[in-house]
């Protein structure tokens, strides 16, 4: 009771204090700003989720086999194909005027709009186009015939039609069903021969060519060092002649073997008739895959879907990159990003260590820091130009002159390639690593540095044993950011080594196995090339989505790996007591 009476005057004096009206103002309480901030976040999340959903959805549905519709138009024209998409459009008044009364009413009822859809008709070699818009009101009949076949070919895009016959070893055989064992066996045999030819050309003939080239280069290097008139050159020339002759014989034999297989394959063809009855004969070895699109079970569909994915991931591209696989691009992206990390991580960490730990913090260091930050804002194409001029032409050109003189004038390192691309991107991303590493280093508490020094550790020992391990999670965050930035970069690569179609992977079975000077393919450039540089952008569109999805998966996968490593490091330093 006494305490209450003691408190009372204090309480009343507090109550008498007038609260300014502004304190209760909604602006000073800040609720609208909470909504503003939350709204901005929600908008950002929505846009990202939308983009991801668009890419992933389109990426996943691309390889699903679609039914083939055969449409007879009012004009009598027949077309067959896969339906790609549909849209509303406003038909021209003169078109509407020519329509039947019911169709005209339908259009008028829709406010002047009608529906049309895009049909992928294929058969580019027959009609010079592979897509066609068909308006709803033009369609007289629509059917899904079971014998319509979609043929994926090596060239000219897909063919859509019915099988009407085939030749086996030059003689015609009456086969009209693609499931007929005679057809299936002949097709498989022709594809096997085609693969054998490809192997012969790449491995045997390519290998022989490489050896002839090697011999020639050896001779050339002797010519350059000893001169044409020297005794050793004359002897080498004689050896070269005999070796080259032997190799030429091998070359001839392999070429003849391949030519024989090509000849055999010429006897195996299939003839198809399209919806209008025009026939087209296709060599069996040029048929990658064919299926009766309207006669597929669920199991068949899944098998085709998976087979197409496998082809996409493991094969070379064909048809100006709009079909086939992206394996070289996938491999190139992965290798390039990995090489970039190998280059950028030590370079960035070492720079940041000096800047933060050793350099006297003054105006000069502040200036250097500003420059590093500004480097992150330089347009990436400028790095590409720098990479081409400095790495490829200057450094690479010098390497060529010193080590590969016998190959000149054709450049070895003196042109764009995997190594120069990785280094250019390393340069592009090094500010990210430097800034992140500096942050991480400055976050290491002074107390444990002092503890280390008080134990008699030198400055370098302190950095090595205490500061770096403690800063490592932060440094890895920087490397993850750099990796994400580098893996998605395209513009500078176009100048320093990425090509539309690379003849060989940068890592293969021929000595010295890792060919850093080779140009390579990249998923990002592939997207640009397929989407905007191909003959028919509509045909390339599905590939753009699938490739984008794949690139995002690759970047995501590499980041995930780095994040897992970082988290393992973090748990090592996690505090349990506080």
């Amino acid at each position: 009771m006494t305490s209450t009476s003691n408190l009372a005057p204090t309480a009343s004096s507090n109550l008498s204090r007038t609260v300014p009206a502004k304190a209760d103002d909604v602006r000073s309480r800040g609720e609208p700003f909470t909504w503003l901030l939350g709204g901005a976040l929600a908008l950002g999340c929505l846009m990202i989720a939308g983009l991801l959903a668009l890419v992933v959805w389109n990426g996943f549905v691309t390889f699903i086999p679609k039914p083939i519709e055969v449409l007879t138009e009012n004009s009598g024209a027949i077309s067959a194909g896969e339906r790609v998409r549909q849209e509303s459009f406003r038909p021209a008044p003169d078109v509407v005027a020519k329509l039947s009364a019911t169709a005209r009413e339908n259009v008028a009822g829709n406010g002047g709009y009608a529906t049309r859809f895009l049909i992928k008709t294929g058969n580019f070699d027959l009609y010079g186009e592979d897509f066609k818009w068909v308006a709803d009101f033009d369609v007289a009949t629509r059917s899904l015939p079971r014998d319509m076949v979609l043929v994926e070919r090596m060239e000219w895009g897909p063919l859509i039609g019915r099988l009407i016959g085939m030749t086996v070893d030059g003689t015609s055989v009456a086969v009209t069903d693609i499931a007929d064992p005679r057809f299936v066996d002949a097709h498989r045999a022709a594809r096997d021969r085609w693969r054998k030819i490809a192997d012969l050309e790449r491995d045997d003939i390519g290998g022989i060519n490489a050896r002839i080239e090697q011999e020639r280069l050896e001779l050339r290097s002797i010519e350059l060092s000893e001169g044409r008139g020297s005794e050793s050159y004359r002897r080498a020339a004689v050896t070269y002649e005999s070796v080259a002759a032997a190799l030429a014989k091998d070359h001839q034999r392999s070429t003849a073997e391949a030519a024989a297989l090509v000849d055999t394959n010429k006897g195996f063809t299939a003839t198809f008739a399209d919806a209008q009855g025009t026939s087209k004969t296709v060599a069996l070895d040029a048929i990658v895959r064919l299926y009766a699109a309207n006669d597929l079970s669920w199991f068949d569909k899944i098998a085709i879907y998976l087979a197409r994915w496998w082809e996409f991931l493991s094969d070379d591209p064909r048809e100006a990159n709009t079909e086939g696989g992206v394996w070289p691009a996938l491999f190139g992206t992965f290798t390039m990003t990995l090489l970039m990390v190998v280059a950028v991580a030590p370079f960035g960490i070492v720079t940041a260590l000096y800047l933060r730990e050793y350099a006297r913090q003054g105006r000069f260091v502040a200036f250097v820091r500003i420059c590093v930050n500004n480097l992150a804002g330089v347009p990436s194409i400028v790095y590409g130009v720098f990479g081409l001029g400095f790495f490829a032409y200057l450094v690479g050109g010098t390497i060529d002159e010193v080590f590969f003189q016998e190959r000149l004038p054709s450049p070895t390192f003196g042109t764009g390639g995997l190594l120069w691309s990785s280094l250019t991107l390393a340069l592009l991303t090094v500010p990210v690593v430097i800034v992140a590493t500096e942050e991480a280093l400055s976050a290491v508490p002074r107390s444990i540095r002092e503890a280390s020094l008080a134990c008699g550790a030198s400055k370098w020992q302190t950095i090595k044993y205490v500061v770096l391990p403690r800063a490592m999670p932060g440094i890895l965050t920087g490397i993850i950011l750099a990796m994400a930035r580098g893996a998605g970069e395209v513009a500078p690569l176009m100048l320093v080594g990425v090509v539309k179609l690379a003849p060989a992977l940068p890592i293969d079975g021929t000595f010295p196995f890792i060919h850093l000077e080779r140009s390579f393919m990249h998923l990002g450039f592939h997207i640009y090339d397929v989407g905007f540089q191909s003959r028919n952008s509509e045909a390339g569109k599905p590939m753009v989505f699938v490739t984008t999805m794949l690139l995002m998966t690759v970047v995501f996968g590499m980041n995930l790996a780095a994040i897992l490593i970082r988290n393992r490091l973090k748990t090592r330093f996690a505090t349990a007591a506080f």
Binding site: S447, I448, E450, A451, S452, A454, C455, G456, Q461, R572
Partner: protein
């Protein structure tokens, strides 16, 4: 009531002629233009516990950090005067500060174990000295942990992270780390400042046990702690050493009025 005149240091008769392992003479120190230590002359007796007391900002931590040259890391710091360790000036140009620090151990205000295992924490001074063989380290680690009265609590989890220990255990781990290389001098900068009373009591017991084996210099805010744990006490005020003598005498019969005011709690 206390005058602000600058008086010279008062030395109790009991400190005349003591065997000083560390001899600080006429030490002046400036942070930039600001002088933080004014002519401190302080012989630190061998094998004894010497407490540095005084109000905040009086320069006792600065003085402590001069002894193992931790102040070298600070930009714009200037020192005049001498500190002799075993007869040699540690501020002579030929002195390698790293070699000097290897002869001393230091315990800080807040426990600062490294983000490593308990074993690696204690073995750290050996590792930086180039002894990397874990079996050879093991004996010294056990000895140091026993010395810091921590062995029984951690012997089964030497490979666990040191950051999983409690605050008091962490501080004892830091003491173990400081004595792992058998230093000549043990410097303690308010070692109990961030600990609870129970942990503080354990650390004080430990200081008692370590006294005699090492020359200990301890900075403390806590007058009871200084009175309990130390053999000699130096009272500092505004960068000056005011009074130095045996702890009993400084607390019970201070010669300087300022010391008297401080130890009786009239200011501080």
């Amino acid at each position: 009531m206390t005058t602000m005149t600058i008086e010279s240091t008062v030395y109790h008769p009991d400190v005349s002629g003591i065997a000083a392992t560390l001899d600080i003479t006429g030490l002046n120190l400036w942070y930039g233009d600001k002088q933080a230590l004014h002519g401190v002359t302080l012989p630190i007796p061998e094998g004894q516990v010497t407490a540095l007391i005084g109000p905040s900002g009086c320069g006792k931590s600065t003085l402590l950090r001069c002894i193992n040259r931790m102040n070298d890391l600070i930009d714009g710091l200037r020192i005049a005067g001498h500190i002799h360790l075993g007869g040699q000036d540690i501020y002579r140009p030929a002195q390698d500060p790293i070699a000097l620090r290897k002869r001393m151990g230091m315990v800080f205000q807040k426990p600062n174990p490294f983000p490593m295992s308990i074993f690696d924490n204690v073995a750290f001074p050996m590792r930086v000295d180039g002894f990397v063989d874990r079996r050879r380290q093991a004996g010294a680690v056990e000895h140091a942990l026993r010395g810091a009265a921590l062995w029984d609590e951690v012997k089964d989890r030497l490979d666990d992270s040191a950051l999983g220990l409690s605050g008091g255990q962490q501080q004892r781990l830091c003491i173990a780390r400081a004595i792992a290389c058998d230093p000549e001098v043990l410097l303690m900068d308010e070692p109990c400042a961030s600990l609870d009373p129970v942990a503080t009591a354990r650390i004080e017991e430990l200081i008692d046990e370590l006294a005699g084996r090492y020359t200990i210099v301890i900075v403390t805010h806590n007058m009871q702690q200084a009175a309990r744990a130390s053999d000699y006490t130096a009272f500092m005020y505004l960068g000056r050493l005011v009074e130095f003598g045996a702890t009993k005498n400084v607390f019970q019969a201070p010669l300087s009025p300022r010391t008297r005011d401080y130890v009786t709690g009239r200011f501080g």
